[in-house]
């Protein structure tokens, strides 16, 4: 019997054989934090990758890479195996990206949502999602009957607080009586926790549910409860066709294509990119006609104004919860202030978790 196994083993080993082929072709690598089928954050990054592929550039991806000790190895392997440009698409890859970049000066790195660019071959990029939140706030303020807006928040980082504030300011403008209630779930993706949070907010009287988390659970809970909701990252309309008013879409494709071509043609240089509605990195899914054509037109106009710069999400006067003036009348918040935002504006209930 064991002779038979030995023979099988030998034949399998023979089949394996060694061959490592060096490849000079230009290649772009992507590191994802979730599975490509999450219908949220990673899904949208993968759509961007497909656009790069469609532009005739070869791409590779590794999905579900934990943000711990494994990230550095994956990034390094991509660099070592002949990838010329590597997108690392989650905040937790910040230090590993910079570490590998140091050892591969000829490879270009692009890190999403981080703030460290320790070497000249590391760029960072993110999107002005808060512009989308302003549109959501406008719709929420108009559509709510209970004047309570429920907000599912992930982590108390500037990006999330910016979104809460932008939404609240826009909602107050059209409806001074609104209140923003927040549940912190401390996760980016956990359908169970997210749906519990949505239910808790609905039980507290919220008739609008919005999320800064990536699963489709909250919109599905909203659909069941018969309240309005907004999708996140990708168009989630098919998961809650009646409830969803629109979704904020992260459209990374134009940026990925542009940067890949630049790297291939040798025109890539380090930069810190923060694109919004204007450049199309933030896009809106089709508006639900249930909100009435009048409101749809209003929102479309606001969207155009935000894109052209005629309107700004953070236009003074803006006060914090204690009533201190943050932005004076007639002024708009500068990018430095937005990047480090760590206080709520007036009208948001509760404290930022510490």
């Amino acid at each position: 019997m064991y002779k038979y196994f030995l023979r099988l083993l030998a034949s399998v080993l023979l089949l394996l054989g060694f061959s490592m082929s060096a490849n000079a072709e230009f290649k772009v690598g992507f590191v994802y934090v979730g599975p490509t089928g999450d219908h949220g954050w990673t899904y949208q990054h993968d759509e961007g990758r497909k656009a790069v592929e469609a532009a005739g550039i070869k791409t590779t991806y590794v999905e579900s890479v934990p943000e711990g000790a494994d990230a550095e190895r994956v990034i390094r392997q991509l660099a070592q195996s002949g990838h010329d440009l590597i997108f690392t698409t989650s905040f937790g890859y910040m230090d590993p990206t910079n570490k590998v970049a140091k050892d591969f000066p000829n490879v270009k790195f692009e890190h999403a949502t981080g703030y460290k660019r320790e070497h000249s071959n590391v760029s960072t990029y993110s999107a002005r999602f808060y512009e989308g939140r302003t549109l959501l706030g406008h719709m929420a303020g108009k559509m709510t009957k209970t004047n309570v807006i429920g907000y599912i928040a992930s982590f108390p980082i500037p990006e999330v607080i910016r979104g809460i504030n932008a939404m609240t300011l826009a909602a107050q403008k059209v409806n001074p009586n609104i209140k923003t209630k927040i549940v912190w779930v401390f996760t980016w993706y956990d359908p169970g926790k997210e749906s519990e949070a949505a239910q808790a907010l609905i039980d507290q009287g919220a008739d609008i549910i919005m999320q800064h988390t990536d699963s489709t659970a909250p919109v599905q809970v909203a659909e069941k409860a018969g309240v309005w909701s907004f999708g996140q990252a990708s168009d989630m309309q098919r998961f809650a066709p009646k409830s969803i008013l629109t979704s904020i879409i992260d459209d990374w494709a134009p940026y990925y294509v542009e940067r890949s071509i630049a790297a291939r043609d040798g025109t890539w240089s380090q930069q810190d990119t923060w694109h919004g509605l204007k450049e199309g990195m933030v896009a809106m899914a089709p508006y639900n006609s249930a909100m009435g054509s009048g409101l749809v037109k209003e929102v479309e106009k606001l969207q155009k104004d935000l894109a052209s710069g005629k309107a700004h999400s953070f236009t003074g006067p803006i006060y914090d919860q204690k009533g201190n003036l943050l932005v004076a009348e007639g002024k708009v918040a500068d990018d430095g202030m937005l990047a480090g935002m760590s206080v709520y504006v007036k009208g948001v209930e509760g404290d930022i978790p510490k």
Binding site: G29, V62, V65, R73
Partner: protein, 357 residues
């Protein structure tokens, strides 16, 4: 008619060869799966099992990945050998990481040779104390250690979440859920420039050696073995069952705590929410694949570590779905348990006897 009956005796050689058979069957089944997914099996297996370790960097990564698995599995073998089902190594790892990380943050910007040993000690004690909870509850309240140790995993993970989001978060880190990077004095030394292999491997090797001595050369090891084979015999022999339960959980917890502290002071260098990609659970597979034998566990941890690396390279080169790594881990365990069944039982095909004149 099929009859299943227990074998009177099993061969020791075959007992240690069945894991090899399980791995071989996994390779065959893996080749079939790759074929069905539309990949060339030989190529896919090559990228899965050979490419990741075909250079020095890969070998170093294999050891980096195997170190925590080996450490935890060594500890678990003490528990499993004596019929104590500690499923919560992941929690003990996390708690060890928390305590060790706390000390590292306490000594932030301190230089001194004593910093690192203190952190490592703190991590081991943290894991040990956390493992004593299910042990003490089992001894005095007869609770089920499987449930208690498993539930405590979530307790420690939530505690870590709370700490890195709140009190321990990096003051210059814009509220991102992570602590400061530890100072250099709090990091395990790197063994070779340019590679990530760190001194944690020595901790694992010493543990392997100590485990071998204790299990095979001491009275305690004998007690553990007998209790695992028959609790009644152990009682009859007058072994102190309660002390032993506490002891094996303490060993197990300390090992898991060491693994946790090895990760945060080794490749990670700070505390955040993802200090372990579930090493504590994967180590259960490692412990059984290694036959609860220290030497066996060393090999098993290398093989299981390779399935992680292989899944990454196979995805990079062939875009094979990343989850095939977990499929391989599952298959190894499945084939091992299946061959164990045949090892301990024999299947007899009985014929109806003809009536004889």
């Amino acid at each position: 008619m099929i009859k299943i009956e227990r074998r009177d005796e099993t061969s020791n050689l075959i007992y240690f060869l069945t894991p090899v058979l399980a791995i071989f069957l996994t390779l065959v089944a893996g080749a079939i799966i790759f074929y069905l997914l539309g990949f060339k099996p030989s190529e896919a297996l090559k990228f899965f099992f050979i490419t990741p370790i075909s250079d020095l960097y890969g070998l170093s990564e294999l050891l980096v990945k195997a170190t925590p698995l080996c450490l935890i599995a060594i500890g678990l073998s003490f528990c499993f050998k004596s019929n104590n089902w500690n499923i919560g190594a992941e929690g003990q790892l996390t708690f060890g990481g928390i305590v060790g990380g706390g000390v590292a943050l306490l000594f932030y910007n301190h230089e001194g040779f004593y910093v690192l040993p203190l952190i490592i000690l703190a991590g081991a004690i943290g894991g040990m104390i956390f493992a004593m909870i299910p042990a003490i509850l089992k001894i005095y309240f007869n609770t089920n250690e499987i449930l208690v140790s498993l539930m405590l995993v979530y307790v420690s993970k939530l505690l870590l979440d709370y700490l890195v989001v709140g009190p321990w978060s990096n003051p210059e880190g814009f509220n991102f859920p992570e602590t400061r990077q530890f100072s250099d004095s709090a990091r395990l030394p790197i063994l070779f420039d340019g590679l990530r292999i760190h001194a944690g491997i020595f901790i694992a090797l010493v543990s392997v050696f100590l485990a071998w001595v204790v299990l095979f050369k001491t009275y305690l090891g004998f007690q553990i073995k007998v209790s695992g084979l028959s609790l009644k015999t152990a009682k009859y022999a007058g072994f102190k069952g309660k002390t032993m339960i506490l002891l094996v959980f303490m060993v197990s917890g300390a090992c898991a705590g060491l693994a946790g502290v090895g990760e945060i002071t080794g490749p990670i260098g700070q505390l955040h929410r993802m200090i372990s990609p579930e090493y504590g659970f994967t180590a259960i597979i490692v412990a059984f694949l290694g036959r609860l034998n220290p030497i066996g566990i060393v090999f098993a941890s290398l093989i299981v570590a390779l399935t992680y690396l292989g899944a990454e390279t196979a995805q990079i080169f062939l875009q094979v779905p990343k989850y095939t790594g977990q499929v391989f881990q599952g298959m190894i365990l499945f084939f091992l348990l299946a061959s164990d069944f045949l090892l301990f039982f024999r299947i007899k095909f009985l014929r109806f006897k003809k009536y004889e004149y």
